[in-house]
C-alpha cells in the first residue's frame, strides 16, 4: 500500500490531459485541486447532497463517489465547460430571474441535474421537476424558486405559462 502516483489520461471540458494521481483522490478533488475547476463543489462527500455533480461520458454522476484514477480515458464535463458551451444559458437566466439561488453552493449541481432532466423530458410538470432535482440539496431557497426557474425554461421563458 502506498501513495504511488497512478497515470491518468482523460478529457475535461474538451481538453485532453495526462496527470499523475494518488488512487484515493476523488474525481471532485482532482477537478478542484489539480485543474482548479472550483465550480464543482464538495459538500457531503457521501453522495447525498449533489453539489459535486458533473457529466461523465455524457451522464450526470457524483464526482465525490468516483476516484479520479477511475476516469482513465473518460470525458468529463464540469459546470465551467457546460456553461461555456452556452447549453445552460436559458436555465441560468431563468435561475437569475426567479432568485433560484442565494449562496450558490448547490447551483452548479442543480443546473447540471436540471439540464439532464430537460434532455430526457423537455416538458416536465412540477412533480417531475421536483423528482429530477431530488438528488440535489439546496439549503437556501426551499426549492420553490428553483422549480419555477426550470418550469419557466421549458415553457420558453414565459412566466405566465408556469403559473
Amino acid at each position: 500500500m502506498s501513495d504511488i502516483n497512478y497515470e491518468l489520461n482523460l478529457t475535461v471540458n474538451g481538453e485532453r490531459g495526462s496527470f499523475r494521481v494518488s488512487p484515493r483522490l476523488s474525481l471532485a478533488d482532482f477537478l478542484r485541486e489539480e485543474l482548479h475547476l472550483t465550480g464543482t463543489h464538495v459538500g457531503c462527500e457521501q453522495g447525498a447532497c449533489g453539489a459535486c455533480t458533473v457529466r461523465y461520458n455524457g451522464d450526470q454522476v457524483r464526482a465525490c463517489l468516483m476516484y479520479a484514477v477511475q476516469a482513465e480515458g473518460a470525458e468529463v464535463e464540469t459546470i465551467e465547460g457546460i456553461t461555456e458551451s452556452g447549453e445552460l444559458a436559458a436555465l441560468q437566466e431563468a435561475f437569475h430571474r426567479n432568485n433560484a439561488l442565494q449562496c450558490g453552493f448547490c447551483t452548479p449541481g442543480m443546473l447540471i441535474a436540471a439540464a439532464d432532466l430537460l434532455k430526457h423530458n423537455p416538458s416536465p410538470d412540477r412533480d417531475q421537476i421536483r423528482a429530477g432535482i431530488s438528488g440535489n440539496y439546496c439549503r437556501c431557497t426551499g426549492y420553490h424558486s428553483i422549480v419555477d426557474a426550470v418550469a419557466e425554461t421549458c415553457s420558453g421563458g414565459t412566466k405566465e405559462a408556469t403559473q
Binding site: 502506498s2 488512487p23 484515493r24 462527500e45 457521501q46 453522495g47 454522476v61 468516483m66 484514477v69 477511475q70
Partner: protein, 299 residues
C-alpha cells in the same frame, strides 16, 4: 472525509479479476459503481488494501433473454435497467422498482450486481431478487456456482459470497402471461432509503392449457410478497401470501392478507421509525400495492 490509502488495479478480463481475488482474498475489495463503497471508505468504515476496479471487464454488463430466464450482467447500471425494453417486457418488476433507487446521478453509476453484493436491508434489488426467485451466479478461481436468492442474503451487508468470488450475473425468471407485478416503498423523501418497501409477484387465473377452459377464473396463485427495510434481509411474507392463494384479488382477500401480516413480520425499529410504526406501514403498503394491482388488472 476522504478515503484511506489503497492500491488500485484495473483488470481487463474476468480471469485477471479472479486471479487478483484469489491472490488478495479479503484484503481486496471489488469496486463496480462504488455508490455505496466510496461513502463507506470516505467514512473510514472500510479500508481495503487493494481496490479491484471491474468497470473495464468485458462481458459483465448488459441484459439478455436466455430461454426462460432474463440474464442481468452484474455491471449493468440501474439507469440501463430503468430504460431497457427487455427488462420492461421480461422483468416488469425490475422496471417498476428502478425509479425508486436513489437519484439519477446515482443510477447512472450504481450497478445491479453491486447492489445485490452489498445487501443493504433497505435496498430494492435484493428484495426483487428474492420475490422473483432469482439465481445469483458467482465465479472464482475454483470455478462457478449458483445460489438461489433465498439462500444468498444472510444478514445486514452479509451474503453467501466468499472473499475470492465475484458476482458475474443474476438470472430472474422471465415474466409469463398472467403474472402480476407490483412495487412500492415508503420513504421520507424521494430517493431516500426506504423505511419499508414491498415487491409483489402473483399469477392471476389458470396456468397453461387450463386457461382456455377456465377463462373466468380470476384466482391468485404463486403469490410472493417480498418486504424490505423491515429485517436484516429482505423477507417473504408467507402467511399473507397464503391468505391470497386461491382467492380473487379483491377488498376481502386484501384485508385477509393485511391481517395475516402480523404473523409474518416483526419489523426492527431504526433510528427514525419505531417497530410499531413500521408494522403499521407494512400493512398500509401491502394494501396500497395490492389495490393498485387489482385496479391494473381490471383495467
Amino acid at each position: 472525509m476522504k478515503s484511506p490509502q489503497f492500491d488500485y488495479v484495473r483488470p481487463g478480463s474476468l480471469d485477471q479479476v479472479l486471479d487478483l481475488l484469489a491472490e488478495h482474498g479479503d484484503e481486496a475489495q471489488v469496486i463496480a459503481g462504488g455508490q455505496s463503497l466510496v461513502p463507506t471508505m470516505n467514512m473510514r468504515l472500510a479500508a481495503p488494501s487493494v481496490l479491484v476496479d471491474v468497470n473495464h471487464v468485458p462481458g459483465l454488463a448488459g441484459v439478455e433473454l436466455c430461454g426462460k430466464w432474463l440474464r442481468i450482467g452484474a455491471l449493468t447500471r440501474h439507469a440501463e435497467i430503468a430504460c431497457s425494453p427487455e427488462v420492461a417486457r421480461h422483468a416488469p418488476l425490475l422496471a417498476r422498482a428502478a425509479p425508486y433507487i436513489a437519484h439519477e446521478a446515482i443510477r447512472n453509476r450504481g450497478t445491479f450486481g453491486g447492489s445485490v453484493a452489498t445487501a443493504d436491508p433497505a435496498s430494492e434489488w435484493p428484495a426483487c431478487c428474492l420475490t422473483l426467485g432469482a439465481r445469483i451466479h458467482l465465479a472464482s478461481r475454483k470455478g462457478t456456482r449458483t445460489i438461489p436468492a433465498e439462500d444468498f442474503f444472510e444478514g445486514v451487508y452479509q451474503t453467501a459470497i466468499e472473499p475470492h468470488e465475484l458476482i458475474t450475473h443474476v438470472e430472474v425468471p422471465a415474466a409469463a402471461d398472467g403474472m402480476l407485478y407490483g412495487f412500492d416503498e415508503l420513504a421520507r423523501r424521494k430517493g431516500d432509503y426506504a423505511i419499508v418497501g414491498l415487491a409483489v409477484q402473483a399469477r392471476i387465473g389458470a396456468k397453461g392449457p387450463m386457461k382456455l377452459l377456465r377463462r373466468n377464473d380470476q384466482r391468485l396463485s404463486e403469490v410472493r410478497l417480498g418486504f424490505f427495510g423491515v429485517a436484516e434481509t429482505p423477507v417473504l411474507a408467507q402467511q399473507a401470501a397464503a391468505a391470497l392463494e386461491g382467492r380473487p384479488l379483491d377488498a376481502e382477500s386484501i384485508q385477509a392478507a393485511q391481517s395475516a401480516l402480523a404473523d409474518d413480520l416483526q419489523p426492527l425499529s431504526d433510528l427514525y421509525t419505531s417497530a410499531e410504526a413500521k408494522t403499521h406501514m407494512t400493512r398500509v403498503l401491502l394494501g396500497r400495492v395490492l389495490h393498485a394491482l387489482s385496479g391494473d388488472h381490471s383495467a
